[in-house]
Amino acid sequence: MLKKKELSINMGPQHPATHGVLRLVLELDGETVVKCTPHVGYLHRGTEKLGENRTYPMALPLTDRLDYVSSMSNNIGYCVAVERLLGIEAPARAKYIRTIMAELTRIANHIVWIATHALDIGAMTVFLYSMRDREWILDLYEMVCGARLTVTYPRIGGVRCDIDQEFMDSCYKFIEDFPKRIEEYETLIDQNRIWLQRTVGVGIISAADAINWGLTGPTLRGSGVAYDVRKAAPYDAYDQIDFEVPVGKNCDVYDRYRCRMDEFRQSISIIKQCLDKLPDGLVLASEAPPYDMPIGKPRVMPGHPMGEILPGELVEEKVPFDELYSATEVPKGELGFYFVNDGTARPYRMRIRAPSFVHASVLPKLCEGSLVADVIANIGTIDIVLGECDR
């Protein structure tokens, strides 16, 4: 009599399909996954702690390195959070520029997502075409800020420098041409029978479960919940822009794919509206903190256990003595920054709510009972980047 035993294998951290250094311990019964345990932390760099040791303007470049395929969105999320904390309002032109940048980033992120997701599932051609198109967006970044990946372009209270006519022209050209590129991707995979077999009915998570697991962004919207921070709590210029939030209904990998493909088109329309409406004026608020923001002295935090040991002295009124959670919609979901401030120009505690971290935690739920091959599709569909997950 042969004994039946579950086999546990490591998937990752060096597996190319895990999108970074994610390690999944899979317990297998034949081809079926019985249990899946994600292990994260291989890329931990202590971003939160580093942020606590730097003033608000100096911590901004750290946020580039969270989700390195959509660094501009992270920057904007951070700037919006600090602006809310300091009570600064960015000028209208800066808000529009940021919206353009955020949407370009959304396109760039979804391009990387479709490229890697399709490559994992076996469609190599999409990868090549989409990388070609991403280059275009990186060029646009370089045009405005001189960097292609770690941009540090927004700034607390606005953006660092104005956009020029050359950028506007290239951007118009991009939004004119890009819809054709989306069609190319769709020609390759949208109705392809292999793609359909690998994605339809795979990785199902119901709307209620998705909410309970804290999913956000297209991963949630694929389950039919129309929650989008851009609509729910508008920031930058989103309240003046007309756009739709695409939702799926079958809660599977294919619907999440459709959601993101529709977001491409929505982003194009948002960029177009922003470029058309772009107001004139300065791009930096006059009360924006300078780069060399004075640190100031910390104040006593009443009722806080740490409060007793901090030297208490009311020094500056510039930075409010406050806690704040601020969320923005980055391409992967809801990126939140939570600051506890002790009145200095440094956060006493900075907490980053990274969508990838939350999404990685849903993998056991998605994978249990599925086949090994579908684990790959599930990792792709939740769109995680481990730089952000491990922070």
Partner: protein
């Protein structure tokens, strides 16, 4: 199943469409840039290798040792040492950027009140030793010379020195007075007459007599 769906299923329509697309791509122009032979266009303001601006009038860097860049650098990779010469005048004794730690944020370029620093458009610098990517003040000037040698035009202006759309009134006075840097000093005036004949711009640092005179002969050689 409709008739169309049946036809699509039997004749593999979607796969044929995909193949037609890839075949079409095969005939189009390749987009790949053959990197070391071909170079892509770099846009102005690219944040690459560090350099000190060589002031056309004094032939030296313009740093006034205000420590702003040292304090602002998020990765804390700049160090500066202020020395005193025999007349008790301060001069820049050491200025080091550990470029391997630099994250190319460009903050140092933006805060410098006299626009002494620049992140040039050179990006392909790598080496087998750490020392080659550790920039001291002489190397920073050398980087500048190498950079301007590749430029066309007579003046250079970095867009982060005084970013567009930012209120100029809030910048320090010395920054407001900065003008594009001439990068072809020899084309306009013979270089040996430059330090004496030209009036010194009050916004910039007056030339310091000591410490760095020995840099000049080397500079003439390279600029020509």
């Amino acid at each position: 199943m409709t008739v169309k769906q049946l036809i699509d299923k039997v004749f593999l329509t979607e796969i044929l469409k995909g193949m037609a697309l890839t075949f079409k791509m095969m005939l189009s122009k390749p987009v790949t840039i053959q990197y070391p032979d071909e170079k892509r266009k770099i846009y102005p303001g690219f944040r690459g290798k560090h350099a000190f601006v060589r002031d056309a009038k004094t032939g030296r860097q313009k740093c006034i040792m205000c420590m702003k860049c040292v304090n602002i650098c998020p990765s804390q990779c700049i160090s500066l040492k202020k020395g005193r010469d025999e007349n008790n005048k301060p001069f820049l004794e050491r200025y080091d950027i550990e470029a391997l730690r630099c994250i190319y944020c460009g903050y140092c370029v933006e805060v410098c009140p006299v626009c002494a620093l620049v992140l040039t458009e050179d990006f392909g610098y790598c080496s087998y030793t750490k020392d080659a990517i550790f920039f001291d003040k002489d190397k920073m000037l050398k980087n500048w010379d190498e950079f301007v040698a590749k430029l066309s035009g007579d003046v250079y202006w970095n867009k982060f020195w005084r970013p567009d759309g930012v209120d100029i009134a809030k910048m320090p006075k010395s920054k407001r007075e900065q003008a594009p840097v001439p990068i072809r000093p020899t084309a306009a005036v013979p270089s040996d007459t430059v330090p004496e004949k030209k009036p010194v711009n009050p916004a910039e640092k007056p030339p310091e007599p000591a410490a760095e005179v020995e840099e000049k002969p080397e500079e003439k050689k390279e600029v020509v």
